[in-house]
């Protein structure tokens, strides 16, 4: 629960400034919704990927860490071609538009 003292600081900060990017107290996120922690738009769809892909490579599933957006997009486009390949990624990538694949590649390139 909010301590009164921090509440007053926050109230004061809000009073002094309508600038909503102020981070005056860890207990209150005063950033606008678009800058908060939770995923928006296409990045929500990245949640489907992280059940398998982490930042450490396994023996069967590659890590996406340290790869550029171009590298990731090239792989995703390869997987998305019709009628090729044996892995689950072939069957999954076909369900995404090129715009979605591009957004996913950009998202994971930034997560390094």
């Amino acid at each position: 629960m909010l301590r009164p003292i921090s509440f007053l600081i926050i109230a004061g900060a809000l009073f002094l400034s309508s600038c909503s990017t102020l981070s005056v107290d860890a207990e209150v996120d005063t950033r606008p919704a678009s800058e908060r922690n939770y995923p928006n738009g296409l990045s929500v769809s990245a949640l489907s990927c992280t059940g398998c892909h982490t930042d450490t490579a396994g023996q069967g599933i590659p890590s996406l860490a340290g790869r550029s957006a171009d590298q990731i997009l090239a792989s995703l486009r390869f997987y998305g071609q019709p009628d090729t390949g044996t892995t689950v990624m072939h069957r999954i990538a076909r369900g995404y538009t090129d715009e979605q694949l591009t957004a996913l590649a950009d998202y994971f390139a930034e997560q390094v």
Binding site: S18, A33, V88
Partner: protein, 427 residues
Amino acid sequence: MALDTNMLSRRKLLAAIASVTLISASDLKAFAQTRAKVVVIGGGFGGATAARFIKSYLPNTSVTLIEPNPVFTACPFSNLVIGGQRSIADQKFDYRSLVGDGIEIAQAFATDVDSQARTVTLDNGSILSYDRLIMSPGISIRWGALEGYDRAAAELMPHAWKAGTQTLLLRRQLEAMEDGGTVVMSAPAAPFRCPPGPYERASLIANYLKTEKPASKLIILDSKDTFSKMPLFQEAWAEHYPDHLDWRGASNDGRVNRVTAETKTLYTDFDEIRADVANVIPPQKAGEIAERAGVTDVTGWCPINATSFESSLQPNIHVIGDATIANPMPKSAFSANLQAKVCAASVARLLSGEDVLPTTLANTCYSFITSDRAVSIAGVYRNDDGAFSSVDGAGGISPLAADAEIREAEARQAEDWFRTITSEAFG
């Protein structure tokens, strides 16, 4: 805390400040979300993941996870324990990481939910209030729905459809069985937890019989004529277990409609089969607390809005995982984990006064066909306008007639998946 008595005036004060400054409505909402209380029922794949993601999306929100067991025993890969390839210790996960994340653990069983008062009652007598409740209670067995199959019967003919003592009971019965014995599995009609699960288990039991008790045999009595990854399993069974596994579908008198536990006898319409070891996978429904909360319909499962995961029947209650009606998404740990993450994002948006967003969801389920080979099924889904749909042209099963290397690669991928999904859920 003298000043705390002034808490009631906080909202008024903020409103006053807002009225004389340029503070937007969303700033007030940002303040409101910090006071929000989220309660999660069930610390399995859905619930543990949801608690962690809510906490990371809205660090200031109070998150309480209600789960009676101090240690969770995972079902995925438990068929390898039954087949003798894996230790049950590798299936166990505790909640220490969640505590480290700032999540409160209420080690108790939720006995009631009052959706009007927005409270959850626990078996230790305490009552928790919530702004948003997320329920991931998994499944309950429909005791008695299969005549003769009650709690006592499950001690003699284990279901092993919730992992732990039931898993070990089935394993010990297989170990104790003399060579030349008959193992009988009864598989239920859909919907049930983990559609390919019975057939992965059958493969691994047959693998055990073939290597350790070669004069023995497994008979699967099925209430269906088709099942998940059927062509792949049938191909594997013909290749690996032609002498150790028989499958009987519903139109071949495979549907079990009664059992007698004391004699381990299973009855179909025209036949009775005596087993040395019987694994009865019974009919199921959503975890019982869902019924108490009023979020189940006549099917015994929970209808939801697919975009927000909010119950179609009760406001402010979200349901995820096996308990939901989410088809075409299957009842899998992969689905439960992903639904938890998307639900957490939706709840974060709702608590911040924003609208929920539709997205694309995927599922992958691997099944072992031998101790080191696996096959898979995948699907891609949308959750626009509150309903799930499959994305055309995507998804499907592993190729038939594939080389051993492809099956072995999928087994390695399955192991990576298990590690990643359990670390996303339990840390």
